[in-house]
C-alpha cells in the first residue's frame, strides 16, 4: 500500500519536525512540512498531499486565509484540511460534533501522534 502523503503547515520549526519524525516512524506516512503560511498553497500543489494539517496562528499569514486559498484552488479543493490549533481547547474539540467548529475539523494542541493517526484514518480511508 502506498504511503499516505501528509502536509503539515505550522510556523514552529521544532513542532513540524517532530510531527514528521513521529508520523514517518509509523511507516505509513510520507510527511512534508512548511513553516510559512504564504508558501502553503505552492507546497500543496507540488506535493499533492492526501491531507493537510494547518496551524491557525501563524505570524505571516493566518491559517483561516490559507484555508480559503486552498479551498479556492481547483486542484486542492478536495483535499481534507484539519486545523491543528492552540486557539481551540479539547472542550471545543469534544463538545462539537465530530470535532468540528462551524463544519471545520479541528484538533486542539497539544496533540499526540495517536490522535493525528486517528484523524488521518477518518479523513483518508483508503
Amino acid at each position: 500500500m502506498p504511503k499516505k502523503k501528509i502536509l503539515v503547515i505550522d510556523d514552529e520549526e521544532d513542532f513540524v519536525q517532530l510531527i514528521k519524525l513521529n508520523l514517518e516512524k509509523t511507516g505509513d506516512y510520507e510527511v512534508m512540512t512548511e513553516t510559512k503560511g504564504v508558501e502553503a498553497v505552492n507546497r500543496a500543489l507540488e506535493f499533492k498531499p492526501d491531507l493537510i494539517f494547518l496551524d491557525i496562528m501563524m505570524p505571516d499569514l493566518d491559517g483561516t486565509i490559507v484555508m480559503d486559498d486552498i479551498k479556492a484552488n481547483k486542484e486542492l479543493e478536495d483535499i481534507p484540511v484539519v486545523f491543528l490549533t492552540a486557539i481551540a481547547t479539547k472542550t471545543d474539540q469534544f463538545s462539537s460534533k465530530g470535532g468540528t467548529i462551524g463544519g471545520q475539523q479541528i484538533l486542539a494542541k497539544p496533540v499526540t501522534t495517536k490522535e493525528l493517526v486517528e484523524c488521518i484514518k477518518v479523513n483518508v480511508p483508503f
Binding site: 513521529n22 472542550t91 497539544p110
Partner: protein, 416 residues
C-alpha cells in the same frame, strides 16, 4: 378642667336664664373645638389612665383599624386590636405604660393592622399628663403612620444596595475579563511548547531500547506531567471563556443527549446504566447550548466518576411551575424565579457513594477537588457555577434522600 372653670365663672357673673343658655352653648362650643382637633387630626391619639385603661381614642385611630369605640374603651390598651397581633409589642407597650406612669416620655416603633389587615409602621409615643402637683394623671398615646416613609427608605436602601451590587459585579466582571484575557494569552503561548514536549517524548519513547526501564519510566512521567498541565490550561481557558454567553431558545433534551454522546466511552467502560426520564413537549430553555453542554458534561462526568464499579445514571427533564416562595424563588428583586414562573428542570442522579457533608459547601470553590491525585483540576464545578450563574439559573447538589448517591438539580429559565 377648662369646663369646670367656665361653669364656675358663669355661675358667679350671669343672670340665671342667660347663664343656662350661655353655659350650654359655651360647653357645646368648647366640646366641638376639642373634639374637632382630637378627631380630625391624621395622627392617632387617645387617652389612658395611668394603669393603661383606654378612656379615649380619636376617630383617626378607630377608623384606621375599623374598630368601634365601644369595643375598646375601658379595656387595657395592650389588649385592644391595635396590639394583639404581636405579643412582643404588647409587652413593650405594657413596659412603656409603666415608665410613662412614672413621668417618662416613651417612644418606639410599632406596627398596626389597618381595616384591610395590611400591616402599617407606626411611630408610637406615650406622653404623661401631670397635674399641678406634678403627679401623672393621664397618659396620651400618639401614633403616626410612617409606612410610606419606611417604604421610601426601604426603596432607597434597596436601590443603593443594587447599585453597590451592580458596581461590584461590574468591577468583578472587568477583573474576570482581564483575567480571562491574560489566561487565554498565557494558555495559548504554553500550548505550542507543550505540543513540542509531547511529540519529542513520543519520539524518544519509540527509540529507546526496551530494556531501559528507567528511561521509559522517566518519559512516561514527563508525558503525564504534560497531560496534567494541558488539563489545567484547558480548564482555565474554559473558565475564562465561560464568562460571556449567547442565549437562545433550545431544547434541553438535545443538549443532554449531546453531553451523553461525548461521555459514551466512559459510561460504557464503567458499565453504567443510563436511565432517561425526559418529559415530552417541554418549553424551550433559554441557554447558550455549547456552554450548557459543557456544564452538563462536567456534571454527568462527575456522576460517572462517582460510580467506577457501575451503577444507575438517571437523567430527568421536566417543567416546574413555582407556586410558593423558597430559596431564590419569590417576588423580591434578587430572586431568580418569580412565583408563578415556569422553569425547565434537569436532574442528574447517581447511586455512587455520595458527598461527605463537610465537603458539600466547598463543591463550587475553584481548585477544590477530592481527586487531585487522579489528575482533577478542581475547576469543573467552578466552571459549571459560572455557566449556571450567567444563565440566571439555579443549581443544587445534594445527597439523595431515597438512596445513596448524589442528585444535581438544575433549574433553567424558559424562553419567553
Amino acid at each position: 378642667m377648662l369646663e369646670k372653670v367656665i361653669y364656675w365663672l358663669a355661675d358667679i357673673l350671669l343672670p340665671q336664664n342667660v347663664k343656662r343658655r350661655l353655659s350650654i352653648e359655651a360647653l357645646q362650643e368648647s366640646e366641638r373645638k376639642t373634639r374637632a382637633i382630637f378627631d380630625l387630626t391624621y395622627q392617632f391619639i387617645g387617652m389612658l389612665t395611668t394603669d393603661g385603661i383606654l378612656i379615649e381614642a380619636n376617630r383617626a385611630a378607630l377608623e384606621f383599624s375599623g374598630i368601634k369605640a365601644s369595643s375598646v374603651l375601658g379595656k387595657s390598651f395592650w389588649e385592644t386590636p391595635w396590639w394583639t397581633h404581636s405579643s412582643e409589642l404588647q409587652k413593650k407597650l405594657q413596659e412603656g405604660i409603666k415608665k410613662a406612669a412614672l413621668g417618662e416620655f416613651v417612644a418606639f416603633e410599632a406596627t398596626h393592622h389597618d381595616q384591610n389587615q395590611v400591616l402599617h409602621y407606626i411611630d408610637f409615643s406615650l406622653k404623661p399628663v401631670k397635674d399641678e402637683a406634678g403627679k401623672v394623671i393621664y397618659l396620651i398615646p400618639e401614633g403616626r403612620d410612617i409606612t410610606e416613609r419606611k417604604k421610601q427608605e426601604q426603596d432607597l436602601h434597596d436601590a443603593y444596595r443594587q447599585l453597590q451590587e451592580a458596581q461590584h459585579q461590574l468591577i468583578q466582571s472587568e477583573k474576570l475579563k482581564m483575567l480571562g484575557a491574560v489566561t487565554s494569552g498565557v494558555a495559548h503561548e504554553l500550548k505550542n511548547p507543550l505540543t513540542i514536549i509531547m511529540m519529542g517524548v513520543e519520539y524518544l519513547a519509540s527509540t529507546i531500547p526496551n530494556d531501559n526501564k528507567v528511561a521509559s519510566q522517566t518519559l512516561r512521567q514527563i508525558e503525564n506531567a504534560v497531560g496534567r498541565t494541558d488539563k489545567i490550561i484547558t480548564s482555565m481557558l474554559d473558565l475564562a471563556r465561560s464568562l460571556s454567553l449567547e442565549m437562545k431558545g433550545e431544547d434541553i433534551v438535545v443538549a443532554l443527549e449531546e453531553a451523553l454522546v461525548l461521555l459514551q466511552n466512559e459510561i460504557q467502560k464503567s458499565q453504567i446504566r443510563v436511565i432517561k426520564e425526559f418529559n415530552s413537549g417541554l418549553p424551550q430553555a433559554r441557554i447558550d447550548k455549547n456552554r450548557m453542554v459543557q456544564a452538563l458534561l462536567n456534571l454527568i462526568s462527575n456522576a460517572v466518576n462517582a460510580m467506577p464499579q457501575g451503577g444507575d445514571l438517571t437523567l430527568r427533564a421536566y417543567a416546574r411551575k413555582f407556586s410558593e416562595a423558597g430559596a431564590d424563588v419569590g417576588n423580591r428583586k434578587d430572586d431568580i424565579f418569580k412565583i408563578g414562573e415556569t422553569a425547565v428542570v434537569v436532574e442528574i442522579e447517581d447511586n455512587g457513594t455520595g458527598i461527605p457533608e463537610e465537603t458539600l459547601g466547598k463543591l463550587f470553590n475553584p481548585f477544590f477537588t477530592t481527586r487531585r491525585n487522579a489528575g482533577a483540576t478542581g475547576l469543573g464545578l467552578a466552571i459549571v457555577r459560572n455557566i449556571v450563574d450567567l444563565h440566571e439559573a439555579r443549581i443544587e447538589i445534594a445527597n439523595r434522600k431515597d438512596s445513596r448517591g448524589v442528585i444535581v438539580t438544575l433549574e433553567l429559565k424558559i424562553k419567553e
